[in-house]
Amino acid sequence: MGDMPFRPHAAAASDAAVGSVFVSDDPRDIGWVKQNVPCQNACPAGTNVPAYIRSIVESRYGRSYEINREANVLPGVLGRICSRACEDACRHGWPGNGEPVAICHLKRVAADLKDAGHRITERLYAPTGKRIAIIGAGPAGVAAAHDLSLFGHDVVIFEREERPGGMLRYGIPEFRLPRNILETELHNALRLGVQLRTGIAVGNEPGQVRVSQLLADYDAVLVATGCMAATPIPLAGEWEKREPTEVPGIEYGLDFLMAMHRGVKKTVGRRVAVIGAGFTALDCARVALRLGGEEVTIHIRTAEEYIPITQEEIFEAKREGVRIKGLRSPMQFVLDDEGKVAGVEFAQNRLGGWREGGRRIAIPIEGSEFIEPCDTVIVAIGQQTVHDFSDLALQLDRWKNARLGDNGMTSQPGLFAAGDYVSGASTVVQAVGHGRKIARRIDAWLLGRERHRQVVRIEPVDQPLRERAYDFIPRQHMPTAPLNKRGKSLACEVETGMNQTTAQEEAKRCYLCHLRYQIDVDRCIYCRACIEVAPRSCIKLVGGVEIGADGSYGKLLETKEWNRVGAIWIDNNECIRCGACYNVCPVKCITISRCELTEVEVEA
């Protein structure tokens, strides 16, 4: 795309001949896309969601997969286990618009329905001769390794476990993420010359590789070790200083899952209490059911509405028999005469205000304690980073995570960090996005210049790509395996994937927010026909428009007085891209342009 002509601003798009494509680095255009394509803006990897969904409508599954892969190298994986920030932001889910598009399921569709012999596209740079060591083969490390190898660097990953994948392999049960999918996508990500050295721990113990040695041997080192330590449960009284896992029947969720995925045979009692409100807690509960737990209950501090798990996952867990009980904080463990766990004492909570990140505060109520009897307790209240593997002291932030400079480097020159090791426990897609971002920082540091820059690709479109009828298609459901097939199997995938018909129905629901509808006011005859047919109040008579700090358009200053009307304007925030205005316009003064964030190469 480096040979495309630059033009300053999309306002000129209406003048361009249909079929011509140009790119813009105007902040107003970049700002427009960020503001108007909420799914892409919410995606930590910056996935071009409308484009890949449109490709599904066109039955171009391979292309859809490749569009995904430009932003993240694990579409088949994330199409199954993504936390879906995009769906929370989806315009289709805004009040009055219905339910969000099943963006995550459609990502999986692209991976599932592409041809078996699908050709992967990679843009390779010439070798640079630079050598980079990455510590950790989790999602951040793998994403960074992929991008750095494309940049022409020699990359070596050091992974302490026997197999790559990090949390994907050792933290997520197979019934949510089949291992053949993971294997394939990891292989695709690392096949461009990345050396994977598994079973090699980086640390300070004898026989382990020192971080300082890596720094000496390589041009740059990236730490992507994630958050691999369970967060201790904060309890009062005697449990304040006592290690709960010394009690038979109490275990941390992360340790429970990792041990199981390393091949350790795990067992649970008849009644299992899982404490926590994240995906790990839910996974532990569903695993516990499959291991023979009969009464498996997740105890949460707030309420289902406020926990960061998708409704579909909660429903499937409940369907399998998991119960969720809210408004309770663990106070202490109750032991039987033999010293085994016999229950958990909770206090009733009330809801307080909001925490950073949109979570609710729960406040225990004095004197409201009660006991829930159980035989096994799994504590899954979060994960945290550890730094004891490093022989080099790093500056940490107030959350005890590595502090990074703007160039992605830690306080040690040449030592970079990415993923959960930097952000604390987050999501797989955040780790992938951050790994990719830091890879660019490393490349820029090694070469002394950026090799890419962000622009908006603007392409005139000669007709609406949607029909009004698409707005009435209900959200399509992901088919799931019947309960009798799941049984006690840890490997039977619960979500079975959409077929072509269902996938295309769902894909049609996407508003294609990257389509920009504009009225050429010089040609408009103010007949109001577009206003009459608009299904929402998306076409407005305005006296002016506020201009944002970056020059992008802000709030529209509407008016109903004709003598104050400066323009008739399509409010792209309200617009659902139905095309009704375009079709009815008698003078064809409405134009459509596809505006997509992309990158162009910067010549040396």
Partner: protein
């Protein structure tokens, strides 16, 4: 600017109608709008078993005639779905895109039948019993002397069982933890209540003793319309299968409203939610109870009616706490019959 307050009530059941009546009494000049998803105006849900006695005229189930709403200046909007409540701007949105501003909002949307998630895949083969139309549908599907399989139980199902037996039908109850819901029955008490059900003529099958329900399928041609298979391989054939697993608050439209929710809308003892303009009453709310030190549901029409009245009084300036008004214990009569106070309706 008008000083007439607009009170909006979501739901037109016992709580909503009692609230409307009290609001009209305490705030005579106000606007009152009652919104219900039901096509019928306020009807007596407790009377629905009458459908099995041949009563099919919906007019005979209606509590108040249309004139009642006209005379009391209550705007009743039927077959209308609220999709969203913006508590900050005091606006609720209806499915057909209309927005309604409120000065006070009472959520009295009640609860719908709860179907355990593990049975959700069988939903198309189950008969509901929450609305008049549901009752007519199941009555039509059940032949004379036919066999009804009730899953779970609960007091609504057991009340229906009494009528079904009385009208010559056979009833099998697949019992479980919900059988006496919402009554709390101890393991020690349970056998005597199960025995009482059996004396009534109900065939009781303990689901757990058969490993739970494995499948519900259409019956083969010429046989009963439904076949229920247990995990141990045993089967049960019936003309209809009806789930009775208690109720779940109807509050989808309140998600994201900014009002605190756990299983129900969380309210203070004076029935106010975390928004000062929004109250809740009836089966939709969980009331903070100082004595129990937790949020509790209270069921039964007497409780629900009292909640509707209290919420309305508090909306119009009172600040009184909720006090339960209904006996919630399950009883055995002298002649060994089971009796729930929730079956008493006047």
């Amino acid at each position: 600017m008008s000083t007439v307050r607009h009170h909006v009530i979501i739901g037109s059941g016992v709580a909503g109608n009692q609230a409307a009546e009290t609001l009209r009494e305490h705030d005579p000049d106000s606007r009152i709008t009652m919104i219900t998803i039901s096509r019928l105006p306020f009807f007596n849900r407790y009377d629905l078993p009458r459908v099995f006695r041949g009563e099919r005229d919906w007019r005979r189930f209606i509590i108040y005639p249309a004139a009642y709403y006209r005379d009391n200046r209550i705007t009743l909007r039927r077959a209308t779905r609220v999709v969203n409540v913006d508590s900050a701007s005091q606006i609720l949105k209806l499915e057909h895109k209309e927005s309604i501003h409120f000065d006070s909002l009472l959520v009295a949307s009640g609860a719908g039948a709860y179907l355990p998630e593990e049975l959700s895949e069988f939903r198309p083969l189950l008969h509901g019993f929450g609305a008049f139309r549901d009752a007519v549908t199941v009555a039509d599907a059940l032949p004379k002397g036919g066999h009804a399989i009730l899953l779970g139980g609960d007091t609504i199902g057991l009340d229906l069982a009494r009528t079904l037996l009385d009208t010559g039908h056979r009833v099998t109850l697949v019992a479980g933890p919900y059988t006496f819901w919402p009554h709390e029955v101890t393991p020690e008490e349970r056998p005597q209540y199960i025995a009482a059900l059996q004396r009534m003529g109900i065939v009781v099958v303990e689901a757990q003793s058969r490993g739970g329900i494995a499948a519900i399928e259409p019956g083969a041609k010429g046989l009963s319309a439904r076949k229920l298979t247990f995990e141990d391989g045993s089967e049960l054939a019936g003309d209809v299968v009806m789930p009775f697993f208690g109720i779940a608050p109807s509050l989808d439209f309140m998600l994201g409203s900014g009002v605190d929710i756990e299983r129900g809308l969380l309210v203070t003892p004076n029935l106010r939610t975390t928004n000062e303009n929004i109250y809740a009453a009836g089966d939709v709310c969980q009331i903070w109870t100082d004595k129990a030190r937790r949020y509790c549901f209270y069921h039964g029409w007497k409780n629900v009616r009292a909640m509707g009245e209290l919420a309305a009084r508090n909306i119009t300036g009172a600040n009184e706490p909720w006090v339960p008004t209904q006996d919630e214990a399950l009883h055995l009569t002298a002649d060994g019959k089971i009796q729930s106070p929730f079956w008493e309706y006047q």
